[in-house]
């Protein structure tokens, strides 16, 4: 009973937060709503005893991805209202498609049932059952091949991202710290000996300067 109450409470917060992501005008508020949505999803995962996924969701998405999102949103300083102007013109199309998709999903899941018995819930696990240990055990034995491939995929992403973004542009004024440190006084200051100019002697006239127009 308590679990069900908690589930509906968290679900309500989750739906409200998800709506907030789309509806709020300020992108920082949107990002914050997304953080809340991730957090409540993690709580729902805890309710179905998937504690490892819940913790990872908080650590990775809330802790890392969303912080990066916030950085980008705050640094870019995009005027979202400018971008979204005239966006509601297409709202009817969005509503229509959303309605169609929902109708189709309801039609397939509700009336056809897809041959799955959805009424039986998951069997509760014993108290000493560790999600993390079980995941680790299959990840490094049964799924070791796709796991290693995922690592190569990340390496590839790094190589691709660096090779596409890092390049030497001509005329870029970058700071070279080593050269700044190694600079000597003679490179920067030049002492010039000049003859003293006396006050009563007129400055030497240059050619053409004194002519009347």
């Amino acid at each position: 009973m308590l679990v069900q109450v908690l589930f509906y409470a968290f679900s309500a917060v989750l739906i409200a937060a998800a709506l907030g992501v789309v509806v709020t005008r300020n992108p920082v508020h949107s990002a914050m709503c997304l953080v809340l949505a991730f957090f409540t999803s993690a709580a729902i995962w805890l309710l179905i005893e998937a504690e490892f996924l819940a913790i990872v969701l908080v650590l990775v998405y809330v802790g890392a991805v969303m912080v990066l999102f916030l950085f980008v949103v705050m640094m870019l300083d995009i005027n979202v209202e400018e971008v979204k102007r005239g966006f509601t013109r297409y709202a009817w199309l969005g509503w229509l498609i959303a309605f169609l998709v929902i109708a189709q999903i309801v039609g397939v899941v509700w009336f056809r049932g897809l041959g799955i018995d959805a009424t039986q819930g998951a069997v509760p696990l014993p108290a000493d059952y560790s999600n993390t240990r079980e995941l680790g055990a299959v990840l490094y034995t049964q799924y070791v091949y796709p796991f290693e491939l995922a690592a190569v995929l990340l390496l590839l992403a790094i190589v691709a991202a660096i090779s596409l973004t890092m390049r030497r542009r001509p005329g870029l004024k970058a700071q070279d710290v080593a050269r700044q440190v190694a600079v000597r006084r003679e490179d920067r200051v030049r002492l010039v000996k000049m003859d003293a100019v006396t006050r009563d002697a007129p400055a030497p006239r240059q050619d053409g300067e004194g002519k009347a127009p």
């Binding site: 041959g115 799955i116 049964q142 799924y143 091949y145 290693e148 190569v152 995929l153 590839l156 596409l164």
Partner: protein
């Protein structure tokens, strides 16, 4: 659950992949530490790595029959070994052809070679995939490498645009494929192809059919078949010619492997759900590819539409759905890749620094300027058009025979009539090269090694056509 133990002997059939991952890391490191000499070291090292990989595969990783590894997620079989050796050869030849082109345009960097190797790894993974999960990992490895390669020339706006289109459309196709996979997984409870083949028998449920529709969409996109072909002309045209050569060749082997493992392996017992969809896709590709190719003035774009048309032929082999059909599809794929390697190799050789030989008009009077290049191009164009005694004829004949044996008379008529349309635009290139005035266009590059390889490539199109049996028997042997 019994945890499988990994020993050296038990993972030996997976040597090609393990070796290639190690080799990628070595090439990456050598490229960093070689400094200024990396421009000379990395391309040569990459070719050596590929040769060593092919040697190791032949020496240690051969298997007699199908062997499964990593809890069934990896299949080692003669087909896998054959396709891996072919794709290694094709990637090596593609890299050999493209070196001077990259050098002339200032994009000869070590990362290009690393990306080519990761793309090859993706092809390997797809060729040997035993489950939907590993198949998807392979697809992503290949696709991510290709996106980055298309965008490799940072100063070209067209290349960036085509990379963006490729990336967005590819992401949508991956989504469709994943959606189909998740539906099939949700309804059968397994990702392994061998278990899926057992679970999917008799009349499939509505959910399974929905899943299969999305899987067909994903496969059609990876092949570049109509109506999921929109990326093909733009990517072929916009990418640097060396990258177009790469995208057009070895990944086709991976697409064949994807279709074969999925349709013949996992969905082999519910043929009727996908063969009609595939037939529609194939006919649309044949007609649109061959008809629109006639109207092109750009050679790369023309070859892109020709690729769409040829993909239609490959898919027709799957529509036949018999052993003979799969053999014909495999044979067609290999032959098509050999001929495409040659034609794009000619484009690369005809280009010079500051001169991109990609318009049809750039080939006017090529014979007067560069007789050997024109001769090679003529052989390749005749072969691609399917004129006997060149090998392209045999490839088309195999497909026709497989369709004839399964009573697909209508498909044979459509395929034969669009082939006639195809002959027109291939022969137009020959006419431009031999009968038009040359004008003041520059000569091709004089690279002797590349010319020699290209000569062997064109000779292969002729010799395989004169003696077609050896490759045909090989294809039949690896598929049996």
């Amino acid at each position: 659950m019994n945890a499988p133990t990994l020993t050296l002997a038990s993972v030996l059939p997976a040597l090609p992949e393990i070796y290639l991952v190690a080799a990628i890391c070595v090439v990456l490191m050598v490229d960093v530490f070689a400094g200024a000499s990396a421009r000379r070291v990395t391309p040569t090292l990459t070719l050596l790595v590929l040769a060593a990989g092919a040697g190791l595969t032949l020496a240690f990783a051969q298997v007699e029959g199908p062997v499964t590894l990593f809890s069934g997620m990896y299949i080692a079989d003669p087909l896998g070994t054959f396709l891996k050796l072919c794709s290694t050869l094709f990637v090596a030849v593609a890299l050999l052809y493209s070196r001077h082109y990259l050098e002339n345009r200032g994009i000869l960097k070590g990362e290009y070679y690393v990306l080519a190797l990761t793309a090859l790894l993706g092809i390997f993974v797809m060729v040997s995939a035993g489950s939907l999960l590993t198949m998807y990992m392979g697809i992503e490895l290949l696709a991510l490498s290709l996106y980055a390669m298309v965008a490799f020339d940072r100063d070209s706006g067209v290349a960036a645009e085509s990379a963006m289109k490729y990336f967005v459309l590819g992401a949508i196709a991956s989504g469709a494929l994943l959606y189909g996979m998740s539906l099939v997984y949700g309804l059968t409870g397994t990702l392994l192809f061998s278990e899926l083949a057992v679970a999917l028998q008799g009349t499939p449920s509505l959910g399974i059919i929905m899943g299969v529709v999305f899987l067909v969409v994903g496969v059609a996109f990876k092949f570049g078949a109509v109506p999921f072909h929109m990326w093909v002309p733009d990517v072929y045209h916009g990418a640097p010619s060396a990258v177009t050569l790469f995208v057009a060749t070895a990944p086709k082997i991976a697409s064949f492997a994807l279709a074969y493992r999925l349709f013949s392996g996992a969905l082999g017992n519910i043929t009727e759900t996908w063969s009609q969809m595939l037939a529609i896709v194939a006919v649309l590709s044949l007609v649109l590819g061959n008809v629109v190719a006639v109207a092109q003035t750009n050679l790369k774009r023309m070859l892109a539409y020709s690729a769409i048309g040829n993909v239609g032929f490959i898919l027709l082999g799957f529509v036949a759905g018999t052993e003979q059909g799969y053999e014909a599809a495999l044979y067609y794929t290999i032959i098509y890749v050999i001929m495409t390697l040659g034609s794009f190799g000619v484009i690369l050789l005809a280009s010079r620094a500051g001169f991109e030989a990609d318009e049809l008009a750039d080939y006017r009077g090529l014979h007067a300027r560069d007789p050997s290049l024109a001769l090679m191009m003529m052989v390749l164009m005749f072969s691609t058009a399917g004129i006997p005694p060149f090998v392209g004829f045999w490839a088309k004949l195999q497909i026709f025979q497989a369709l004839w044996a399964t009573d697909h008379l209508g498909l044979v008529i459509v395929a034969a009539s669009v082939s006639v349309v195809g002959v027109f635009y291939y022969l137009r290139v020959v006419k431009l090269m031999y009968f038009d005035a040359p004008g003041d266009l520059p000569k091709g590059e004089a690279r002797l090694g590349v010319r020699l390889t290209l000569g062997i490539n064109a000779l292969a199109a002729l010799l395989l056509g004169l003696f077609p049996n050896s490759l045909l028997e090989l294809c039949a042997k690896v598929l049996s």
